[in-house]
Amino acid sequence: MITKRVALGVLTLILLSLLIFLSVEALPGDLAQEILGQQATPEAVAAIRRDLGLDLPPHTRYVNWLGGMLQGDFGKSLALKRPIIDLIAPRLQNTLFLTLYTACIAVPLAILLGMMASLFRNSYFDRISNATALSAISMPEFFVGYILIYFLALSGYFPSMANITPSTPLFEKLYACFLPALTLTLVVTAHMMRMTRAAIINILALPYIEMAHLKGVRPSRIIFRHALPNALAPIVNVVALNMAYLITGVVIVEIVFVFPGLGQLMVDGVRFRDVPVVQASSLVFASAYVGLNLLADIISTATNPRLMRRK
């Protein structure tokens, strides 16, 4: 069951890598021409093509590229003339740090709020938390970011710039990244909270919940012990989706807070037509997406006895 799911995940990744490779391949223009610009003599172009291996047939190049990726060799950046791995590694580290930081605040908060909203549904608590979460998600990310900067950075509580490096000490990192993490929390919480609330409320209508009431079980225990385990699958999936979004989709927040993350690297890569960088970061993003969704599926399968223990 789980093995099958993992195999499917790997297959998806291979297909994605092919897609990334082919779409870059399909871009108009010649890379060598692009690099040389004005000074492109036919000999120079041919030399560069040989240098980059562009004279090889596409399938050979694909295999070489993918094989290199698997061994950690991401190729060389055309614009910066440095190995891509050196560009990506610190950025990826930063992005993962911010994602994890945000997740540590947002996921428990969203699930707790969602459970409480379902426990006290249609109460003022439910309505206020819903309304707040929805207004937060309705505002553009940069706007949320600037508002936080206006209120929390201008008064000097937190820095508005989060330009950390891998060598920054942990506590300083946490302090510097507080505002971007808070911004992202506001962006992703609503989705997870509302899914938690909806999933649990759905389950609260089922006969086994009535049975728990008739056994004299406390309402809080009913939510935690009887409803939550059965609502886990949709919740875990929406959490994974939001985590993937935090890794791949936060370039605007990165720019607002001058945060050196992967998103900026990719945008720069696109701007300078640095094809290998774009390819490499696309593949990292794709792996994050596939990996997180895979993890979500595995968790929801592993926590469901009906799937784990078939008759």
Partner: protein, 554 residues
């Protein structure tokens, strides 16, 4: 069984009124019903759906479902006024002193936890006993209820045990705190007859053993007759009458009660078998399954003649519905053919022509889900008439009105309604009209009456009977209810594990000797005699009923 004492009754409900919210209006569900229940006494609550049986049963626990409220009356349990306890006090009672056994154990067990954990929850939370003691108690109850492998049984998850076992596990769970009162809410309605017996025997044994008081809710009189000392009949939230079981069965006073009793006696005359004629449907040597490795049906053959009803009986999983799927072409058989009036039908419905499709129609168990809720009655019935017979405009409209008259529903009143504006029986009638709109030669009726109340079901059976003689129809009647077989069938096919184990005219079916499985099936249908279960257990033995008896046949 009842032991009258001079002390106050355990449960005393007086003039209880309960209202429910329906379309934003409060409507009466229970209009002033009262009851007394002494320790060790079993009260049967009888009534059709909507009579308020479950609502009253839950009220005995001081519990109301969402959208219900107790508006008047008094409920006293062992001297405690249940309507004036706070939530915590109520939680102290529920599960510990009053327990509940629900209709569907499969839906009422939490799928995420092991049976033993769910058993132990109430004793632990109510601090009645510790974990080890609770587990031991569970094992002893499982053993007492003839559950397989009592030591290991609790380690399983709900989906890993059969329906009858799960229902017994739920009864065991209700007993976990040794309650004074148990509410049994249709605990065997969803089970096959042979499984039902096991559960009935277990429940009765336990109730006697622990001297527990119980309210036994059911729509099945014969079942209640086995379980209850006293029977109370409810109709739309009103009490009709109450008497001891023996008296109630022998001489019911009210007309409504008498009508309930009479339903079980409906039976049409069996028609003589026709051997010489060409059968309408001929199923020959059909072997079929949903995966190529596993066959569900094995070498199934039988024929259905013109204007005859063949009842196909068997328990869930015996292959009844799969046979229907093969006939309709929804499932292609691996081996074998289906002939209609002598011509072989193509295996898949995609390959059948319009006329072949027209002649094989189906009526489903759940009229609720079989009718498109967004379409009006007019369109539901018009569609097959237009599609198969090419009717349109005025002719189509006339045809729809005719069909409505044939199913005894006034066209002007019903033609523009939505399915949601009809009762369960009326919806089933629309399902019938839709089937006969195609002017078929043959209709498969898949458990068409099992979701209906007895009086309504009787009406449907009579309607089907009348349509059969008017329209020269042949029926294949899939059912697990032998009373229905007795009422409508000409011939009976008994299926078990995908095999036809017995086949013959109805008159022969109900007379021995039988295949041992048929014998078990027939013997497991509860009778109105309150001593029936005692006699059965005596003659067969506790270990020779239900699954255990079936296992012995192999």
């Amino acid at each position: 069984m009842s032991k009258k004492t001079n002390t106050a009754p355990l449960l005393n409900m007086r003039n209880v009124h309960i209202k429910g919210l329906s379309d934003e209006k409060w409507v009466d569900i229970i209009n002033g019903v009262g009851l007394d229940l002494n320790r060790g006494e079993v009260l049967g609550l009888i009534g059709e759906s909507g009579a308020g049986k479950s609502t009253l049963g839950l009220a005995a626990m001081g519990f109301c479902r969402d959208g219900c409220k107790i508006t008047d009356g008094a409920i006293e349990f062992d001297g405690l006024d249940l309507l004036n306890q706070n939530r915590q006090q109520m939680r102290q009672l529920r599960g510990r002193r009053i327990a509940y056994v629900a209709q569907s154990a499969a839906a009422s067990f939490n799928p995420a936890h092991r049976l033993i954990d769910q058993f132990c929850e109430a004793p632990l939370k109510h601090a009645v006993m510790g974990r080890a003691e609770a587990e031991n108690y569970a094992t002893s109850l499982y053993e007492r209820m003839n559950l397989p492998d009592p030591d290991e049984f609790g380690l399983r998850y709900p989906h890993e045990v059969s329906g009858g076992q799960l229902q017994r596990a739920m009864t065991a769970m209700a007993l976990s705190c040794r309650p004074d009162l148990i509410i049994f809410d249709e605990p065997t309605t969803a089970l096959d007859v042979t499984t039902q017996i096991e559960v009935l025997a277990a429940i009765r044994d336990i109730v006697k053993q622990f001297n527990t008081a119980a309210i036994y809710i059911s729509h099945d009189l014969a079942v209640v007759a086995q379980m209850a000392d006293t029977i109370k009949v409810l109709l739309k939230g009103d009490e009709v009458e109450q008497a001891t079981t023996v008296k109630m069965l022998k001489s019911p006073v009210e007309d409504y009660t008498k009508s309930l009793w009479a339903v079980r006696k409906y039976a049409r005359a069996e028609q003589q078998p026709v051997a010489s004629l060409q059968p309408v449907i001929e199923i020959s040597n059909v072997t079929a399954g949903y995966s190529p490795r596993q066959d569900i049906l094995e070498n199934v053959s039988f024929v259905i003649h013109k204007r005859r009803t063949v009842a196909v009986v068997g328990e869930s999983g015996s292959g009844k519905s799969t046979t229907a799927r093969v006939i309709t072409g929804l499932l292609k058989p691996r081996i074998g053919t289906v002939r209609f009036n002598g011509t072989p039908l193509p295996a898949g419905y995609q390959d059948r022509n319009r006329d072949q499709l027209r002649h094989v129609q189906m009526i489903y168990q759940m009229a609720d889900t079989a009718l498109n809720p967004k379409l009006r009655i007019r369109d539901l019935i018009a569609r097959p008439a237009a599609m198969y017979l090419g009717l349109s405009g005025k002719a189509l409209n006339e045809r729809v009105r005719d069909l409505l008259r044939m199913i005894e529903m006034e066209p002007d009143q019903y033609i523009d309604r939505l399915p949601s504006e009809l009762s369960g029986g009326q919806k089933q009638r629309i399902g019938i009209a839709r089937a006969i709109a195609a002017e078929p030669g043959f209709i498969i009726c898949d458990e068409v009456t099992s979701a209906l109340d007895q009086l309504v079901a009787e009406g449907i059976l009579k309607l089907l009977d009348r349509l059969q003689s008017e329209l020269d129809l042949s029926y294949m009647f899939i059912t697990h209810d032998l009373a229905t077989v007795r009422a409508i069938a000409d011939e009976v096919v008994v299926m078990k594990d995908g095999l036809v184990v017995e086949h013959g005219p109805k008159s022969e079916m109900f007379v021995p000797p039988h295949h041992p499985y048929t014998e078990l099936l027939l013997g497991s249908v509860p009778e109105m005699d309150p001593k029936w279960l005692d006699r059965l257990l005596e003659s067969r033995g506790v270990d020779n009923i239900g699954d255990a008896a079936i296992a012995r046949m192999k």
